[in-house]
């Protein structure tokens, strides 16, 4: 709306969605955008579905929006769920991480495997990322959220300096280096994939 772009970050409570959203928001600000953001906390943190939203543009009024241009999902089922947030021709950057919810663990429901069909039907571009492997390579699997963010840089307009500014402002100093590595690896992996296409 009015040139404002909406990025939703979806995942499972505890995966670092809020941190990733904060980095994105600060990168957008460093790039000169007006930014508004919204996060969900409290009960949803205990392993439930969570969605944070970052909106940027010349002037942003609302902190939330019913539709997103880009979804960044730290877990596959949550990415699949967040297809509903995307407009046609949107982009879903998602981690191939699988965390089965209770009903799947107990064998009551099946984990969905129709991502490609569901996205294809609406011309949504899929960017799958093995974020956990990249984060492990960087030094800790807990940086998977940031590795995924690195992979999403190709669909976002912010410059490298702005991204680094976002990282430096948001990530605690003692884990900044490992997160910078994870971010760079994510960025590289997605670039390689793009060239390959």
């Amino acid at each position: 709306m009015n040139g404002v772009r909406t990025v939703s970050l979806a995942g499972v409570g505890g995966q670092g969605i809020i941190l990733a959203a904060a980095i994105l928001a600060h990168a957008a600000m460093a790039d000169g955008y007006d930014v508004k953001a919204s996060e969900v906390k409290g009960m949803a943190q205990r392993g439930g579905s969570v969605v944070s939203t970052v909106r940027f543009g010349k002037q942003v009024w609302s902190p939330v929006a019913p539709r997103a241009d880009i979804v960044i999902a730290t877990e596959t089922l949550e990415g699949r769920r967040a297809l509903a947030l995307l407009g046609d021709k949107g982009t879903l950057v998602f981690a191939t991480t699988v965390i089965a919810p209770g009903s799947v663990l107990r064998g009551e429901k099946a984990y969905p495997d129709d991502m490609v069909e569901a996205a294809g039907a609406r011309l949504i571009q899929l960017v799958p990322v093995d974020a956990e492997a990249l984060a492990r390579e960087a030094g800790t699997v807990r940086a998977a959220n940031v590795a995924l963010l690195g992979a999403a840089t190709h669909v976002l307009p912010f410059g490298s300096k702005s991204w680094d500014d976002g990282l430096a402002r948001v990530v605690p100093a003692r884990i900044l280096d490992v997160n910078r590595r994870a971010f760079a690896l994510g960025r590289e992996a997605a670039a390689v994939k793009e060239e390959g296409q």
């Binding site: 205990r46 439930g48 089922l77 949550e78 965390i99 009903s103 107990r106």
Partner: protein, 603 residues
């Protein structure tokens, strides 16, 4: 000839409630509400043989309401009394009770004090009825004070809602003749566990909220039909809308006027208001304190005279009403206007789950000590009154171990009210350490004072976990993580005079032992199930191993809802999230789960 009793409004409310089958009453004294509980106690003493209601003074209004809710759940028609400011104290349970609804009829008496004869403010508690979207009855004299409790109980049960019975000083402390009516027979309603109705976690609360909004519209239709709202014909072309004692002042000041007399003043019957306007050329609203009815009439687009001449503070009387309104009669009547009926508000439906994907509700973490306690507790034949914190998640499938969640600290009062009503430990309370300090101490004192039986289980994980591990008086930790004095729950209980045992939450035998002993003891005690939140201790631990030959996928362990346990094809599988807490090992009937053998000492 038998003398007709000459009763104060409060005495009449008490007798009217008993006549309507009252089973439980409690309150905190506060002028002008106090005499209701006193009269009930007197009636009980006068008629010691009859199975009269249980009558209690409570430690405060919040605990009174929570205890009353427990009694209502147990199946007893219940009245909870307080003065107007008392409802501020009880607002927390009151606002959410409006969503859960009741079992047996539950009436909250709010006695307001216009003029502040004996109060620090004169808030108009009719606002609370609108705020909570619950029906409100306003008797105007002692006879109505006697008659209305029966109506209130019926409304409460039919519409599954608490009912606000609003009195004011002149009703509570005024006197009048009261013609007794035949008693109402009331069958006690059995309590039935209903997690989606009584556990107000977001998912269930959203649905109850939709129902409460729909209920308000049904109540408005009832307000149109009920004989409590009467259109009384007059001979002058003047109409007056009034409720409570204000009606009596207006009636004396303008004997020839038409009246819309509202006994059920919330929600407002719009059609009846329109009918009054069709019958007269001008309308006044006579009400003490706020323009509660007047604002709603104005919203219909109808001309009305109210607070521009009638004081918005203090009490009214017939002279004030007459002097205020009489000059208005000299003015030309306003142009007749058609009322604009407010549209029925839209209620947003529950969002459909996208493409029937598996939902992901929040869950107790792997290694959470609460799961260990629920694993023991769910085998006991008691209702579990719950509270607010991570442990509320124990209400969700597959644990289904908790059956109420109303507001901070409500578990203990609800347990006490239920057990007192049923005369045994029919329920236990489960409450977290931080919630216990927030609002669990007062109901524990109250339960002790009122000799309610029960067991309070404090799930002490040494933090305020749900919101992100904040400190509380039990840990002494401050926002800057600096440590101050830490309060000891056992010693606190000792001071209150309640037996308290502290056990390791993961010590299955010890938890079971205390549960068995205390449930059999039949009086009041506290069990502190102690184990720090797993998220505060990230040291690596051994993970549970599965003996695939022994596992027959019976589901006992999977039924604990641990995210680290997967029902595989041949046997259960343990994920990397396992913390080795061992709760699943304890429930396995085939010894298929174990921890790696610890290396022998010295080797």
């Amino acid at each position: 000839m038998e003398r007709i009793p000459f009763l104060s409004g409060n005495e009449a409310i008490a007798r009217g409630a008993v006549r309507a089958g009252l089973g439980f009453a409690c309150g905190y004294p506060g002028t002008p509400s106090t005499e209701v509980v006193e009269e009930l106690a007197r009636l009980g003493a006068d008629d010691a043989d009859a199975a009269g209601p249980i009558v209690e003074w409570s430690i405060n209004e919040k605990v009174a309401l929570e205890t009353g809710i427990g009694a209502s759940l147990a199946g007893a028609r219940t009245v909870v009394t307080m003065k107007h400011v008392g409802l501020n104290v009880a607002a927390d349970p009151f606002m959410t009770l409006a969503l859960t609804g009741v079992n047996a009829g539950l009436v909250v008496l709010s006695a307001d004090d216009p003029g502040m004869h004996s109060s620090q403010n004169e808030q108009d508690n009719r606002r609370f009825a609108a705020f909570a979207k619950v029906p409100m009855l306003e008797p105007s004299d002692s006879q109505e004070a006697y008659d209305f409790p029966a109506w209130a109980f019926e409304l409460s049960e039919e519409f599954d809602t608490p009912v606000l019975l609003r009195s004011t000083t002149r009703l509570s402390h005024g006197r009048g003749r009261v013609v007794p009516r035949p008693p109402v027979t009331f069958e006690r309603r059995e309590y039935a566990r209903d997690i989606a109705k009584y556990v107000m976690v977001p998912e269930y609360a959203r649905e109850r909220n939709r129902r409460a909004l729909a209920r308000l519209e049904r109540l408005r239709r009832r307000a149109e039909e009920t004989p409590l709202n009467v259109l009384e014909a007059g001979t002058a072309a003047v109409g007056i809308i009034a409720s409570g004692v204000a009606y009596t002042y207006a009636r004396e000041a303008f004997p020839k006027a038409w009246f819309l007399k509202l006994g059920m003043s919330h929600p407002l019957p719009y059609q009846k208001v329109a009918k009054l306007y069709a019958s007269v050329s001008r309308v006044f609203v006579v009400e003490e304190l706020d323009p509660f009815i007047e604002e709603q009439v104005r919203a219909l687009g109808l001309p009305v005279v109210g607070k521009e001449v009638i004081p918005a503070n203090g009490e009214l009387n017939q002279e004030i009403v007459f002097n205020a309104l009489e000059p208005a009669l000299m003015h030309k009547p306003p142009r007749r206007r058609r009322p604009v009926m407010p549209p029925k508000p839209v209620i947003a439906p529950a969002p459909a789950s996208a493409d029937d994907l598996p939902v992901r509700p929040p869950v107790l973490c792997p290694g959470c000590p609460h799961r260990a306690v629920y694993a023991m507790l769910r085998r006991q034949k008691v209702a579990v009154m719950g509270d607010i914190g991570c442990y509320t998640l124990g209400a969700l499938p597959p644990l289904l171990s908790l059956e109420s969640c109303l507001c901070m600290g409500a578990s203990i009062g609800m347990m006490a009210g239920m057990n007192k009503t049923l005369g045994r430990i029919a329920s236990v309370a489960v409450i977290g350490d931080s919630t216990f300090f927030h609002s669990g101490v007062t109901p524990l004192i109250d339960a002790r004072y009122n000799q309610a039986p029960g067991l309070v289980i404090v799930l002490d994980n040494r933090t305020t976990a749900m919101t992100g591990h904040q400190g509380h008086p039990g840990t002494g930790l401050h926002p800057d993580r600096g440590a101050g004095p830490a309060l000891d729950i056992e010693r606190l209980c000792q001071g209150i005079g309640v037996r308290c045992a502290t056990v390791d939450a993961f010590d299955e035998a010890a938890v079971k032992d205390v549960l068995t002993r205390e449930l059999a003891a039949g009086d009041l005690s506290v069990l502190v199930a102690l184990a720090p939140c797993i998220l505060m201790d990230r040291s690596s631990r051994e993970q549970v191993l599965v003996d695939e030959d022994r596992c027959n996928l019976c589901g006992l362990c999977v039924d604990l809802g641990c995210p680290a346990l997967v029902a595989g094809d041949e046997a259960v599988e343990i994920t990397d999230d396992c913390t080795g807490c061992g709760v699943c090992m304890a429930v396995c009937a085939r010894d298929a789960l174990s921890l790696p053998e610890a290396p022998a000492e010295g080797s």
